[in-house]
C-alpha cells in the first residue's frame, strides 16, 4: 500500500475525526444525561460524569422541620423545608434520584436535632432514569419484546426469501434476469414511509394491521431486495465445483445447500441479517402508521422524547435501552461479516 503524504494524512484525520465527533458526541451526551438526576440536568455547565451520590446540608428548624440545602455550584440554597417522610421521599426521588424510604431519611436527619446542621451524603440510584422510563412509558416493556420479535421476524422473512432469490440469481439463467436484478434495487428506492399508507390499507384488509407480522412484512420488503443482492454476489463467488463435489460424494441438493453452500455464504447472511435487524429495530415512522397497541420500542422512545420535555433524562435512558441491543447485535455479527474462512481461528 502506498503511504499517504502529510496533506492526505491531515485530510483523512480531519474527516475521520468529524465522523467520530458526529457519532460519538451525541452518544456520550445521552450516556451522561441518562445517569443524571434532575438537579444535575439543570446545572450549568453540566458535569460530563454524573455523580454517584448526592450531598445535602440539613438544618433543623424551630418548628421541628428540616430545611434542606443543596449546592448546585453557586453556593447552598434552601430547597425544601419539611418533616413529612412521604414528602421527603418523593422529593429526593424526583429531584435527586435517591431512592431511600422517607422514614429512613427522617431518622437520619433527626441527628441534626442534637448536633446542629450536618451534611449528608446520600447514595444515588444510578438506574433511576431507566426504571422511571419504564414507569412513565407504560408500554415500554411490551414494546421491547415487540421490537425483538419484529426484528426476528424481519430477519427470518428477508433472509429466507432474499437468500433463495440471491441463489437463483447467482446460479440459474432465466428470462428477464437482468430486469429482475435492477427491479430489486428499485424496491429499495422507495422510502418505506412512501409505501406505508397503501401498506396500511393492505394490512387492514389482510387483518394484519397492528400486528407484529404485518410490521415485519413491511420491513422485509426492502430487505429482501438487499439480501438478494448481497447473497447473490457471494453465491456467485462460491465455486460451483464445491457443490458438485458434494453431489459426487453422496449428498442430495438439500444437504448440499445446508452443509456446503449456506455455511460458505454465512458472512453474507450475517451482513444481511444485520441490515434487516437495524431496519426493524430503528424504524419509527412506519410503526407509527401501522401500529396502535403493539408499538415498538423505537416508537415508544420517540414518543417519550417528543412528550417529556421537562425530564429528558428518562428519554435518554430509553434511547440507551434502544441503542444497546443494536450495538450488541452489530458487534456479534461483525465478527462473522469480517470472517475469512480458515484465516480466522474459530
Amino acid at each position: 500500500m502506498n503511504r499517504l503524504n502529510l496533506i492526505q494524512k491531515t485530510v483523512m484525520s480531519l474527516i475521520l475525526s468529524a465522523m467520530v465527533i458526529t457519532v460519538v458526541v451525541p452518544i456520550i451526551f445521552f450516556l451522561s444525561v441518562s445517569f443524571s438526576n434532575d438537579f444535575e440536568m439543570n446545572q450549568f455547565p453540566k458535569n460530563l460524569i454524573p455523580s454517584t451520590s448526592v450531598t445535602v446540608k440539613v438544618a433543623p428548624t424551630e418548628q421541628g422541620l428540616y430545611e434542606i440545602f443543596y449546592n448546585n455550584g453557586e453556593g447552598y440554597r434552601s430547597i425544601i423545608t419539611t418533616a413529612n417522610p412521604i414528602k421527603l421521599e418523593t422529593f429526593f426521588n424526583r429531584q435527586f434520584a435517591v431512592t431511600i424510604p422517607g422514614e429512613q431519611l427522617v431518622e437520619q436527619f433527626s441527628k441534626t436535632k442534637e448536633n446542629g446542621p450536618m451534611e449528608f451524603k446520600l447514595k444515588k440510584d444510578m438506574f433511576y432514569n431507566f426504571k422511571q422510563f419504564f414507569t412513565i412509558a407504560t408500554k415500554a416493556k411490551s414494546a421491547l419484546v415487540n421490537s425483538i420479535l419484529v426484528s426476528i421476524y424481519t430477519i427470518i422473512i428477508s433472509l429466507t426469501i432474499g437468500s433463495l432469490a440471491g441463489y437463483a440469481m447467482a446460479r440459474y439463467n432465466f428470462k428477464f434476469k437482468e430486469t429482475i436484478n435492477v427491479t430489486l434495487l428499485i424496491v429499495r428506492m422507495f422510502p418505506v414511509v412512501g409505501i406505508s399508507i397503501p401498506m396500511a390499507i393492505l394490512l387492514i384488509n389482510f387483518g394484519l394491521f397492528d400486528t407484529l407480522l404485518g410490521l415485519a412484512i413491511l420491513y422485509s420488503i426492502p430487505n429482501i431486495a438487499l439480501t438478494a443482492w448481497i447473497t447473490s454476489s457471494i453465491f456467485v463467488g462460491i465455486n460451483k465445483e464445491l457443490e458438485e463435489a458434494s453431489f459426487i460424494f453422496g449428498a442430495n441438493s438439500f444437504h448440499t445447500f445446508m452443509k456446503i453452500t449456506l455455511p460458505l455464504a454465512f458472512p453474507a447472511l450475517a451482513a444481511s441479517s444485520m441490515y434487516a435487524f437495524l431496519t426493524a429495530w430503528n424504524d419509527t415512522i412506519s410503526a407509527l402508521i401501522l401500529t396502535n397497541q403493539n408499538q415498538t420500542l423505537a416508537l415508544v422512545v420517540y414518543k417519550a422524547i417528543g412528550t417529556s420535555s421537562s425530564s429528558i433524562q428518562y428519554a435518554a435512558a430509553g434511547s440507551l435501552i434502544l441503542i444497546i441491543p443494536a450495538l450488541v447485535f452489530t458487534f456479534i455479527v461483525r465478527k462473522y461479516v469480517n470472517q475469512m474462512w480458515g484465516g480466522v481461528e474459530v
Binding site: N239, E241, L242, E244, A245, S246, F247, I248, F249, G250, A251, N252, H255, K259, I260, P263, L264, F266, M340, W341, G342, G343
Partner: protein, 367 residues
C-alpha cells in the same frame, strides 16, 4: 464385457445447438488409466461430467459393469472426482473434508476415523488433518482432494484437469504420485487434460478428442508415432509436426511428393496407399526430430532442400532450429547440431522415411 462403456454418447446444451460430444464410443477395462486429451472446448470435460452425473446426457448410454447408470444421481454412481479447483470445502478441516462422504454413508465413527487416516496416509497428509484448506498450499489441497476421492473406494476415478493449477515442478511430482495411487488402489481412472506431456506420462491409453469427436484411441506411443489423423499429429508433440501441402506425382522411379520448396520421393512402404492420390494434393507431415540437418550438401534420396536457419532455440538436451521451407515455417529438433548459428546455410533431409501423409478432406492418415 468392458468395465465402463460409452455408447453413442451425445451432448448438446441447447435443443438445436451444436453437439458438444458427438457419438462417442469408448470402452474401458478395469484398472486402466485413461486420459482424455484435447484442446479446450473439445468436450472432454463434458464427457467426464456426464459420466459423473453432473451433466445430463442428450443421447446414448453409459454402462458401468454392464449396468446403465443414466438417470442415477451422482452419489449413486459409485464414482469419485477430483476437480480442477480441488473443490476442497474451505469451511471444514481436512479431516472433515475427507470424512464428509463417509458421514453421509452413516458409517460408525470408528470406521470413519480409520478410513480417513488410511486415506490421509495414502496421500501423505496425516500431519494436516486438523488444518483448514486456507492454511495450506495448492499442492496440499490437491492431496486432500485425492484423499477424499480415494476414501470412498470408488468404482471409477474421474479427474478433471487436477494438476493445471499447480506450478510446473509440483505438477510433475504430483502426476507421478497420482499414477502411484492409481496403481496402489488398483482403481480405474479417467483423467482429463490438455497437457500432452501429462497425458503421455500417465496414460495406459490416450483418447485424443477434438470438437466432440474421438480422433484416436491408443497408447501414448501409438498416438505419437502412429497418429491416426492430422489433428492428432499436430496436437501431440512439442514442437508440433510440420505440415506441407504436397502434390503426388508419378515418375519413372516411383511416387514423388512435390511441395513448393522441395521434392521428396515417397518411401516404398507408402506407395500402394498413395497411388490413388496420384496428381492429387495431400498433407505431408514430418515430426521435428525426423528432419535431418547437414552442413554439407547431400544428394541422397532423402534429401529435401537447402535452407537457411533463422532462429535457434537451445533447450539443453536438444535445440530447436527454425527455418522456412517453401513459405512454411519448419521446426527441426536436433541433437547433433546444437552449436549451429542463425543464418547458417544447411541442407535438410528426411530421416529414415519417417513421414506421414494425410487426406486433405477427411484429415485421415494415408497408410
Amino acid at each position: 464385457m468392458s468395465y465402463l462403456v460409452l455408447k453413442d454418447l451425445e451432448k448438446r446444451y441447447t435443443k438445436d445447438g451444436n453437439l458438444i460430444v458427438n457419438k462417442m464410443n469408448l470402452s474401458i477395462e478395469k484398472g486402466e488409466f485413461i486420459v482424455f486429451l484435447g484442446p479446450s472446448g473439445c468436450g472432454k470435460t463434458t464427457t467426464i461430467r456426464m459420466i459423473s452425473g453432473l451433466e445430463d446426457v442428450s443421447g446414448g448410454e453409459i454402462l458401468i459393469e454392464g449396468e446403465n447408470i443414466l438417470g442415477k444421481k451422482p452419489k449413486d454412481r459409485g464414482v469419485s472426482m477430483i476437480f480442477q479447483s480441488y473443490a476442497v470445502w474451505p469451511h471444514m478441516t481436512v479431516f472433515e473434508n475427507i470424512a464428509y462422504p463417509l458421514k453421509l454413508q452413516k458409517l460408525p465413527k470408528a470406521e470413519i476415523k480409520e478410513r480417513v487416516h488410511a486415506a490421509a496416509e495414502a496421500s501423505d497428509i496425516t500431519a494436516l488433518l486438523d488444518r483448514y484448506p486456507a492454511q495450506m498450499s495448492g499442492g496440499q489441497r490437491q492431496r486432500v482432494a485425492v484423499a477424499r476421492a480415494i476414501v470412498i473406494k470408488p468404482k471409477l476415478f474421474l479427474m478433471d484437469e487436477p494438476l493445471s493449477n499447480l506450478d510446473a515442478k509440483l505438477r510433475v511430482s504430483m502426476r507421478t504420485e497420482l499414477k502411484n495411487i492409481h496403481t496402489r488402489e488398483n482403481s480405474t481412472s479417467i483423467f482429463v487434460t490438455h497437457d500432452q506431456s501429462e497425458a503421455m506420462s500417465l496414460a495406459d491409453r490416450i483418447v485424443v478428442m477434438n470438437k466432440g469427436i474421438i480422433e484416436q484411441i491408443g497408447t501414448p506411443m501409438e498416438v505419437y508415432q502412429d497418429s491416426a489423423t492430422k489433428f492428432v499429429a499436430s496436437f501431440i508433440g512439442t514442437p508440433p509436426t510440420n505440415f506441407y501441402e504436397v502434390k503426388i506425382e508419378k515418375r519413372e522411379d516411383g511416387l514423388y511428393a512435390i511441395a513448393t520448396g522441395f521434392e521428396y520421393k515417397v518411401p516404398d512402404r507408402l506407395v500402394p496407399a498413395l497411388l490413388p492420390y496420384t496428381n492429387k494434393k495431400v498433407d505431408l507431415g514430418v515430426r521435428p526430430e525426423f528432419v535431418g540437418v547437414s552442413l554439407e550438401k547431400t544428394h541422397s534420396l532423402d534429401h529435401l532442400c537447402e535452407s537457411v536457419i533463422q532462429f535457434v532455440e537451445p533447450q539443453g538436451t536438444h535445440a530447436i532450429l527454425i527455418t522456412d521451407i517453401g513459405g512454411v515455417e519448419t521446426k527441426i529438433m536436433t541433437i547433433d547440431h546444437m552449436e549451429i548459428r542463425p543464418n547458417t546455410k544447411v541442407s535438410l533431409f528426411m530421416k529414415n522415411g519417417n513421414v506421414m501423409f494425410f487426406d486433405i478432406e477427411t484429415t485421415q492418415r494415408i497408410k
